[in-house]
Structure formats: C-alpha cells, structure tokens
Symmetry: C2
Subunit: 628 residues, 2 copies
Amino acid sequence: MSTGPIRPTGRAYTALRPASAARITGGFWAARRRTNAEVSIPQGPARLEAAGNLANLRAAADGKGTFTGDYPFQDSDVHKWLEAASWQLADRPEDDGEGEGEGEGGTELASHVDELIALLAGAQEADGYLQTYYRLARPEQRWQDLRWGHELYCAGHLLQAAVAHHRATGQYELLAIGVRFAVLIDTLFGQDRAIDGVCGHPEIETALMELYRETEEQRWLDLAAYFVERRGQGLLSEGAGRDPGAGYWQDHIPVREATTVTGHAVRQLYLLAGATDLAVETGDAGLRAALERIWAAMAGTKTYLTGGLGARYDWESFGNPYELPPDRAYAETCAAIASVQWSWRMALLTGDAKYSDLVERTLFNGFLSGVGLDGDSWLYVNPLQVREAHEEFGGDDSVRRTPWFRCACCPPNVMRLLASLPHYMVSGDAEGLQLHQYATGVYEAGGGRVRVETDYPWRGRIAVTVEAAPADADWTLSLRIPSWCPDFTATAPDGDSPAETVPGWLRLRRRWHPGDSLTVDLDLSPRLTRPDPRVDGVRGCVAIEHGPLVHCLEGEDQRAGVPFEELTLPHDAHLTVRHEPELLGGVTVVTADGRSRGGADVVPLTAVPYHVWANRRPGPMRVWIPRE
Amino acid sequence: MSTGPIRPTGRAYTALRPASAARITGGFWAARRRTNAEVSIPQGPARLEAAGNLANLRAAADGKGTFTGDYPFQDSDVHKWLEAASWQLADRPEDDGEGEGEGEGGTELASHVDELIALLAGAQEADGYLQTYYRLARPEQRWQDLRWGHELYCAGHLLQAAVAHHRATGQYELLAIGVRFAVLIDTLFGQDRAIDGVCGHPEIETALMELYRETEEQRWLDLAAYFVERRGQGLLSEGAGRDPGAGYWQDHIPVREATTVTGHAVRQLYLLAGATDLAVETGDAGLRAALERIWAAMAGTKTYLTGGLGARYDWESFGNPYELPPDRAYAETCAAIASVQWSWRMALLTGDAKYSDLVERTLFNGFLSGVGLDGDSWLYVNPLQVREAHEEFGGDDSVRRTPWFRCACCPPNVMRLLASLPHYMVSGDAEGLQLHQYATGVYEAGGGRVRVETDYPWRGRIAVTVEAAPADADWTLSLRIPSWCPDFTATAPDGDSPAETVPGWLRLRRRWHPGDSLTVDLDLSPRLTRPDPRVDGVRGCVAIEHGPLVHCLEGEDQRAGVPFEELTLPHDAHLTVRHEPELLGGVTVVTADGRSRGGADVVPLTAVPYHVWANRRPGPMRVWIPRE
C-alpha cells in the first residue's frame, strides 16, 4: 500500500481528454449544472443581443455602425458564452457512454454556437484582428492603449473559446479564427518586434498555453512566456486614461519576484493561472517557488472564508493582509472563478491537496453565490454581510441579484465554469487517479475509470467503484481528505481501513478489479469557526460551517421580533443539522442556540448555506455572527 | 440666575464682525495657527505655481495656452488659498488691540494676495465668467457638464474668498470679481431662465449666503435658495461622464425630505451647510427639522470617533449606517472641514451644544490630523488604523504625509479653516456671549468681551475674565460643557458654583463688571471608550480618549519585541497620563496596562493624540485596540 507523491500529468482545466472524460451525472452539482444548461446558457444569446454585443459583431462585419456598450471588452462576453456553450456541447450528463448523447437542446445550442461563430468570422478583419470596439469606435487606434484597451484580453477569451470548441466538437472553424488572431499577435509582440508590451488585463497568457496544448506548436508557449515574463517591468507605466498605479495590473514586480497578490483581483489571478500553466509545461523551479509563495500569502492573509477574493471596491482589488471586511467584501464572482482556475493549476503543478481544498471552498461558497437558484439572476459582488439598514444604490455592485450587468463579465464566466466543472474533479498520473472533488459521476484518468456516488455536500459518504483499471499492475486510487474534516472512515475492498498516507490524501495502491469499491465517510459535523485575530473586520465573531459549506444567517429565517442586528452567538453554542427538502431547492440548515444581545434566553438561529443567500426577498445577511 | 434658551444671532463662520472680533492669542490653537501663518500659507503661492494653477490664470488672461492639472476645479485651490490668506490678514495674534498689528509677514502676504487677485482679474472673461479650465481646455462648452464641470463650485469658492477678503481688508477688488461672476450666474440660472440646473458639487449655496450677508442683497439669498431647493429633483440624472448614481451628488432626494447623509461626503456636507445658512436666514421650520434629522443620523450612525466622515474610498462617500471600518476609513480632511462648517451653522441655528461638541471632536482629531506638525505635509485620508503589514501604493489616498496632492483640495482647505478658526469659538445673542470652544484669546460678541486663558486641551481649567459687559443690565456668560466630560467645577465671581442650567451649557446671568472672572475646571480624566455594538468594524475593541482628544497607538512608542498586531487592551485597564513636552511638539500621552495577545504580563501601551500621528517614520497605528 505504499505510495509515492502525486505527480499529476493533467494540464489545467482542460486536463482531461477527450472533453467527456469526466461526467457529472447526479447529485448537487448535476442539479446546478442542469440549470446552467437549461436556463443560463440558453438565455445567453438573447442577453448578448439585448446588450448590443451581437449588434457590434454585425456592425463590424459591415465595417460600419456605432459601438454599443460601455466597455471596450464587450466582445469577451460573447467569447465566454461560446466557451461555456462549447463545454456544454461536450457534456452528456444522462448518457452512460452508450447513446448519441445529444438531444434537441444540444442541437439548438449547437446552431446558436454556429451562428455566433459565423458572426465572429464576419467581424474578423483581413489581417486576423478581431475586436469590435476598435473596429467601430477607435479605428486606426489598435494597440495604442494597452492599459485599458483589453485587446489581448479579448483575444485570450477568444482563444479559450476556440480551444473549448475544438476540444468539444472536433470542429476547426472557431479555432481557425482564434489562430488567425494569435498569429497576428505573435507577429507584432515581442522584445524584438513592433510592440514590446503587455496587456492591462491578463488573460492572453493562459489562453496561449491552452492553444499550445491544443496545437502543440511551441510558438504559443514562447509567446505566453513573453507575456508572463515581461510583466512587472513597468511597460504599463506610461499610457492613457486613469492611472491606478502599477500594482493594479501587476506591473510593479515580475511574477517570479512577487511575494503576494496585489491590485485588481481578477487581473492578478488570471495572470497567475497563466504563469502556473507555464511552470507546468517548462518545469521552471524558480517560477514554481514564486507561485507557491504568492498562493500561500493569498490563502493565508487575503482570502475570505467563502473563498472570495478582493477586499476593496475601489479598483476591485486586493486589500492589505488581513483586511477582509465582511460588509464591503467585493469578492467579485469572476475573482472566485479565477481563483478556482489558478488553484486547480497549482494542484496540477504540485499534487498538493491544499490547492483543491481552496477550490472546494470557493466552488461551494464564494463562487456559487454568484448565480441565483433560477439560473437567471446574478451577483457581481459577494459580500459576507448585509445590514438590516442597508442602503442600496444599485449598479453592478448591488448586493441584490439582477438579470445582467452593465459590465457583464460574471454571468458568462459562471456559465463556462459550471459547463467545464467536470474537468476540476479528478487528475491522473502514472500511478493512478486522484479525486480532488466529490460529485456523482464517471471519471477517467491515470489509466483507469471510476464511478462516484455521493450526496455530497449534504452527506459525507463517498462511494467509489472502479470500472476500469490496469489488469496486470497495481494502481493507486487517491481521495482528497478536506482540511476542514476532523475525522473520516474508509472501507476498502478487502475490508481494510486505509489511512491518509500523504497529507490531505487518502491513497490506496493495489490490484483493482472492475467492481471493487472504496467507501469513505467524511465527518461533516457542523462547527463554529473563529477568525484569525488579525482579521480586524470580524473580530469577536464566529461563523457556522458544515462540511465544505459556509453558512449564513438571513433575516427571513430568524425568529420574528428579535432585531437582526442584536443576534449573537456564543462560541460554544450547540448546533444541530436538519435537511429541508422544500427550502431553497433543498438545503441542509444549521440551527444554533443564539442570544439576543444582552439577553439570557436562547434565541434559535437558523443558518442556510451561503451559496443560496439572496434568493428570496431582500433582507439582512451575516456569515460572521457577533459572539456578544 | 435663570436663563432662557440660547438664540445665537451669529451667521455661520463669518459670525463675528469685524473679522477681528475673535482673536486666539495663546495656547494650543495659537501654536498650530502660527505654523499655518508662518509655513502653510506662505508656501501656498509656490505650491500653486508648481502645480500650474497660476500658469492657468496667466494663460487664461492671455486667452491662449494649455490647461495644467488633472481636474477642472484647479482654480478653487487658488480661491481657497486666497480665503485663507485673507482671514490671516485680519488676524493680529500678538496684538491686544492697541498696535497696528501688521508686521512684515503681513505686508508680504498682502502683496501675494494682491498678485493673485490681479491674476484672477486678468483671467475673468468680459461677461464675468471665471474658470480657466473652460477658458483653456473646453472653450464654448461652458455650463454643458454640470455634473463634473465644477463651474458653480469654483464660483462658490471664489465668492467665499471674496467675502473673506472684503471682511478682512475692507477692500473691494476681489469682491467685485466675485460679484461679477455671481451676476452672470444669477442671469443664467433659474427655473424660468436659460439653465435650470444644479452643480455636481455643492458649494455655491453657502457662498451665495455669505455674499447675501456681506452685501445684504436679497438676490443672493434667492439664488442660494434656488440651488438648495432644486437639488434632489433629478436634474443631474442626465449628463456626461461616469454616473455614480444620483445619491452621489445628493440629487436623489430634496434636502427637506432627506433622512440621512448619502454619497460623496464633502458634496453632502457643503450642501447641508448651505441649506443651514438658508434656514438661519429664513427661519424655515421644515428645513430646520430636516437638517436636525439628517445631522442626528450622521452623528449617530456615520461618524468616526475622530469626527471623520466618509467610510468608503469608492466615490469618497458615506457608507451604510454603522459601516465605519477603521482601516479603510476615507475620512477625507475636507470632509472633516465641511463637517465643522455644517455643525457650526447648526449650532448657530439651534443653540444646541451637541453641534459644537462635534465641532470640538472634529477639530481636535479628524481635522487636525490632516496637517503635519511641520505645516507642510498633508493627509488626504485619515484612517483610524494602519497595519504593521501595510502595503502602501501612494497617490492622494496615501496614509503617509505628502507635500501636496494631485487633487489638492485639502491643504488650502486646512489653511482657511485654521485662519478662520477664531470665528468658531464664540457666538452672541441678545442675552450675552456663548463660549463654544476653548482657546486662550479675546472674544467679543453679544454686547460684551471676554478674555479666556486655558491650557486646553492638555488641562481642563478655563479661566474667563470679563473685559466688557453692559454696565446697567444683567448679561449671560455661557460655557459649553462637553458631552464627554464626566464632571466639572465652576467658580463664579461671588464664590457661587453655577450649574449646567441648559443641557450642555453652564450659564451664569448676572451683573458683570470688568475684571470679574468665572473659572471652570473640566475633568479630563483619560477613559476607555467602547464602540456601539452595531459598528462591526471595531467590535471587541476599546479606544483611549483624554478630554476632547482621541488617542492612538503608534508602533514607534510601543515596547520593542512585542508585535504590534498582538497588542491588546482589556476594557478595565488602568490608565495614566503624562505630559511629554519634548514629544511631537509637546503632547500629553496616555499609558495603559495592555497585554500581548494570550500573555498574562502587563505590556505598557503608550497612546499619543491622534492628531499628531504620522509625524514620524511610517509605521502601524491604531485608534481602536482589540480587547483580546
């Protein structure tokens, strides 16, 4: 049963080939992904039409017309939707690998995808350039505003969509569009070329790495390396528009010298994801060490309990270490997505379970809160507290769900993460298969295939059945033991009880036969979490957690007549768990013996999972509850 | 000894006529005002030259040239400096009313003032318009961007300078420039005139009220009333540039319907100051009731312990009720100044001591922190906490003092408040004189004159000697008893011990003879202040106060070897007071029996007054100290 370190051979979020090598077929994530497939993604084209994104593409194809929208990066909403739709096309949730797998919804989706690809093809200029803002609103001004123009950013999202579409469908049309643009960029950018510069918003880096993996052309890795390494050299120090300081776009220090996350959260995390892709492919030890150091600083000093990132509204940015206000948490949905993408790459780079721990925390809390249960209402910011006396001014930073945003980066980003979610579940290496996340489904990696059945996160039992494994060799099945988990039991095929042989991993190496199963029971017992005393914003408070879920109080669920702001929770309060199948689509609630400030009587507090907050009428909410 | 309510007849910060009717001659404020007079104000012209403000005036006079500076309101820095210099010209701190009072410094200052007035005269256009930004950078675009153009705002500061200069010197040249511009505005603006609109940044309202008082022309009151009453009608809902929402510029609700302060803090407070001026003059009970309600909401739910206002960096704005993070307190120096101006007007409107309580808290803490002890280094933001691990990015929002700002609104604003400070000390009414603030000096109001001698705020003794009073009638001397004061003793001329006959006021009505004195001893004992439990940002903390002074810990003064972030202070800790004549210009420090988190040994904590923080090398700082 001895095992070595995990050395995943996977490559970022498109780790598994074919795209259908992981399928979530039931349980918690299947339900949320069904809403994504049936509501969110299908409504995308209409939203993009209403917001003018498609009109921009048509106008650009005509070579005339006015640009619609407030931002130069409007096209990226289209690209992200196309990426989401592409992953969705590869998804066969109801299929066990035997049928055709593409129902009527799939056909309709495919034709929407084809329509949008045709629009992109029309909008692409003769030399491969594709950004309607510059075509329509700023002709002759290409590449002149690398700070705010978002040209390489849009190209990056185009490339990610192109790779996803090719991976999912085997078709080349969108990939060709993306490659044409990438060739233009490769011709122009470099230290010895016409433009020595980086983009104000990272994204091209990871996209080029994906393109490299898809095409196996070295030039894309080289170009990605150029963009990663040239950052932090002050190339953005001169430019047009408002100047938020070099740290905002991570141009104050090279990645390999940085010690923490800084500036605009999404920019920072996309950059680090791309740098990690590079380290995975090159094996660069210096870059890897920097990434591990930066990640530790982020996770240890700048991450909310929910996995949310970005403490400041101003510049949508990271705050100082331990500056994590619950009420003014910006915690942009896109930052949570970017964090999942980066941490997953770190998991693949290192095999360390802590990265997938944070992926789990983020997925179940600070990410999932970004989309309403209806699949059609969104949060841009994900605070950990809303007061009873909240004064709402609206806008993209509203703490009430809205159907779309003026800056609509988050909704299609949620769609693409949910659509590609199966890829974040497992990795494979020469020894076997690693289960990083738990969802009922079928997963192929590391030379084998397993079937997982679980009611996670509501229940802690995870039953893994091996469907295929090397017949004539030992093979290692690894299950992540979450760091929040105080205890677990495991039952192996031979009745043995395997233990955690590598920190964070339960590993079982043996000869596996189809039908062999390994069952793990994680102790989900609800718990009260005290904050690090250095986090000033939540001093004197406790939070309720249950398994991987952070819970919160919403005003709606509390005893009538007790002012919400007077509720307190002693740090040794008794907690009970109750599943409520009719509440908010079916959730487990935690009830705690609270108090009303200064009172002696018990006031029961009812805490729902954070990810379902703001799905009822507006009201106060708290993750961190005062102890007195 | 019976007294009626206080009904001040004063009118805002120019309450006393002549401008020399109040003179601060010694003690705490005299020292700070001397630095203002000898360093801050004299350096103004050079700073304005270096920043391009004066070049803009010269270019405008030539009718050609480029505009220098990032903001359309650059001229207002000049206006505010002129106002400061004008008040300074009226000041004769060393003079007891017998000499000429204007030394060499005064002559030099007067010639600087005359030079700048000449520049303004040259830059004024034929029709009276005066804003170099529009003359130079946006010709033909006057009044087309009321949201961001700051035209009426600049006009307002010009008028305040004009009134101050006229009041201080008796000269008409600057007043004439101001009136010419005001006439143009009066011709254009109104519901039945060419432009029905209000300015994105209030300021014109209070300025017109001052002009009304100076000239006694009704038209200026009417125009001020128009600008006050038309606000909140959505006139700013359509316009150019970024849209922060109507609440940002208080255009979401009319002043008389508002219930709290909202949006950009300085905008809000200037508006309310102007509205209060209007209520003072018109006696409008509805407007007064609204102002009292709004003030109570501000003081009760949106004001920092230091008197600082504006909890949010984004949009420099008020937060929600009880949203008062210490680390990310914006608490712009200008907002503290605007608060002093508004609360002083409320004191004059109502006679209620609570308004001057807040003036005192703000002056001694959140305002005075804005200027360094050297008189030549400034803070734009005034946080209540800086971490050991602070990551400084610089800019106008730096928490380190800098010589000037890109947006240099605060320095000349500090200069004008310090130069006009004597006006905030006393008011008069038909019954007598009210001492709102305590500073050694001579004050004339309400038909009498008093001399005050005190070491306030370091010591609690205030000795008031009557120099002149009605010879043949009773006269009332009133002294504010600060709300923080737990106890006081008073000794009257006849050996009597007068009591607080109106809440917040010690009043003594009698026949006064020159030389009669009243001595009051306020108990300044240091105290530990616990926050309102609804202020989430400082839960579980205490603050140290001493008399009117809020204290803070700076890293520099704490015991070496104990990490700053580990310092704690039990809520029942023993406090001692010690005057340190050599420290930071001479301050009283409070020493408290603190702890290092988790340790049992006493760690002495040394707390300096908040207003002197950031005058040494950069380091951590805390007003609110964790109890555990």
